[in-house]
Symmetry: C2
Subunit: 313 residues, 2 copies
């Protein structure tokens, strides 16, 4: 997984954070503990890149705006936080300045905030540039109760493993989107891919329960679960038949589909997940290492199932 190696390399070049910094790094968001402040601050930054995260002309500008913000909103949700402000950069080729394309992109950003239940999300500012390919970045500032942000590293043997929603719809929808010629014919899977939601309300409730660990499914259940297992120093086991599969998707697609933006989390034994959310118990935590899927025939590694931008590595 070349992406992970690049990130490791960046972090090694920058060195460890001093203990005095009051910062947690390497989770869905960075957590800042600032003296006197009633909340911890959360910071996350994400980009969407033409040709990598989307194909020009296949996604509407409004859907791209939603996607650009949902990526970061979902990171805040996975920390059990509340989004406060965003800053953005946009790199705009001439085609993005034609007609109302860029207006619709901005409206999509706002729509994602409204759909996540954060209509008051405020724009702090940003940077605008021309360029050959469209690239947008969103930086979100959020808050979490002091010391209560949900981290990846808290899962313990005996914990139950849960996921919200159904998985596999995003990759199914992307395939249909790239295959179809009539872009007005948008079925449930295509809508799922184009207009995902960030689980802000669920994340806030998980911080109250509290969950022992959480991460969002952005690169695929297999890859994100292996990150949670590694951060927690445990083995995560998924029951083959327990994963909620999006209608029309295969079981393998449910395990590998990225851009789902559902929450994957662990609860202590006997603790029930918050009601009023579609949540499935898909497995448990054991001593050991790695992410595994178990069926009647035994266990196999799940780590490799997921999305990387740098597949060649």
């Amino acid at each position: 997984m070349r992406e992970a190696r690049i990130i490791e390399r960046i972090e090694s070049l920058w060195g460890a954070l001093p203990d005095s910094a009051g910062v947690v790094r390497g989770d869905d968001c960075a957590v800042l503990e600032l003296p006197g402040l009633a909340h911890d601050l959360l910071i996350t930054t994400d980009q969407i890149v033409e040709g990598t995260h989307f194909v020009w002309g296949r996604h509407s500008p409004r859907d791209l705006g939603r996607k650009a913000l949902v990526r970061s909103l979902s990171d805040v949700a996975a920390m059990g936080g509340w989004p406060l402000f965003l800053a953005q950069t946009v790199c705009l080729p001439a085609k993005a300045l034609a007609g109302d394309w860029h207006d619709k992109f901005q409206q999509g950003l706002r729509q994602a905030a409204t759909e996540a239940g954060v209509p008051g999300l405020a724009l702090l500012g940003g940077d605008v540039s021309s360029g050959e390919r469209f690239v947008a970045t969103v930086t979100l500032v959020g808050r979490a109760k002091p010391g209560r942000a949900l981290l990846r590293c808290g899962a313990r043997p005996g914990d139950g493993l849960f996921v919200s929603g159904m998985l596999g719809g995003s990759i199914l929808g992307l395939r249909r989107l790239l295959e179809e010629t009539d872009t007005d014919r948008r079925d449930a899977a295509v809508r799922r891919h184009c207009a995902p939601s960030a689980r802000i309300a669920l994340g806030l409730q998980l911080a109250e329960v509290p969950a022992t660990a959480a991460i969002d499914v952005s690169d695929g259940l297999g890859l994100d679960l292996s990150r949670l297992a590694e951060a927690s120093g445990v083995m995560a086991v998924v029951e083959q038949g327990a994963v909620p599969v999006f209608p029309g998707a295969s079981h393998d697609e449910a395990l590998s589909s990225g851009e789902e933006y559902e929450l994957l989390f662990t609860l202590p034994a006997g603790t029930q997940p918050p009601e009023a959310h579609a949540v499935s118990r898909i497995g448990w935590i054991e001593r050991g290492a790695g992410a595994w899927v178990q069926d009647s025939g035994g266990r196999r590694r799940l780590d490799a199932a997921g999305f990387s931008h740098f597949a060649a590595g």
Copy 2:
């Protein structure tokens, strides 16, 4: 100036910030007043885009890293702030992953922090993607004394107008860089363009004086001064002969050269700028509007002299 129109459009689509938000927007950094926190927080985000901010192969990766961070450091300097943390996104084409190119880019980021007197600047995290063109964004979180961040809007008639350093070197250096064939032959102007410095120490002192207004020279003296004048609701007048011109550059280049990262600021009449910095008094503030340059023949508008990414507009 199409860039300004795009930014206006974005802000109108997002709407005004609520008064209760405790946020200043539209300056070099956003200022967040958070309850209980001993400092105001500063947030700024900037991008460097291949083909727009640099030509591949003409700038070394180390210089690009410096430039990527100096853009944001200079915004914090112009607010009289101190940088605390950065987050970054990098969009990496295959050529940026060859050899140690990307390592050197990261080393350049760190070098810019060290050169600005902020060797402890901590990396919070970020996002890595593949893509066809190199794009990097840096988001900086800084702090300023409560209510003491330097804004663009505080200049008053009678104030003196000052700038640090010498202007014109960056555009002169860029021209020589693009013309030369031997990239090892780097004269002072080329070094000035490739390795600018952020005036963090000067900014901190200006916040103590305090200066009435400040902005950094990122898009050219004319353009940045017109922004300061507009935000303050005043006229800014530059004396033709008073602008410090980088050796070899023309006077017009000194007025229009962007990426200088010097500080442009105003002080109440009779107030002296901090010692131990190369600072020139270049003019004054009057009632009226716009940025002007005055010589023995009269005054002419300075507003149009500067850099815009969207010159076609």
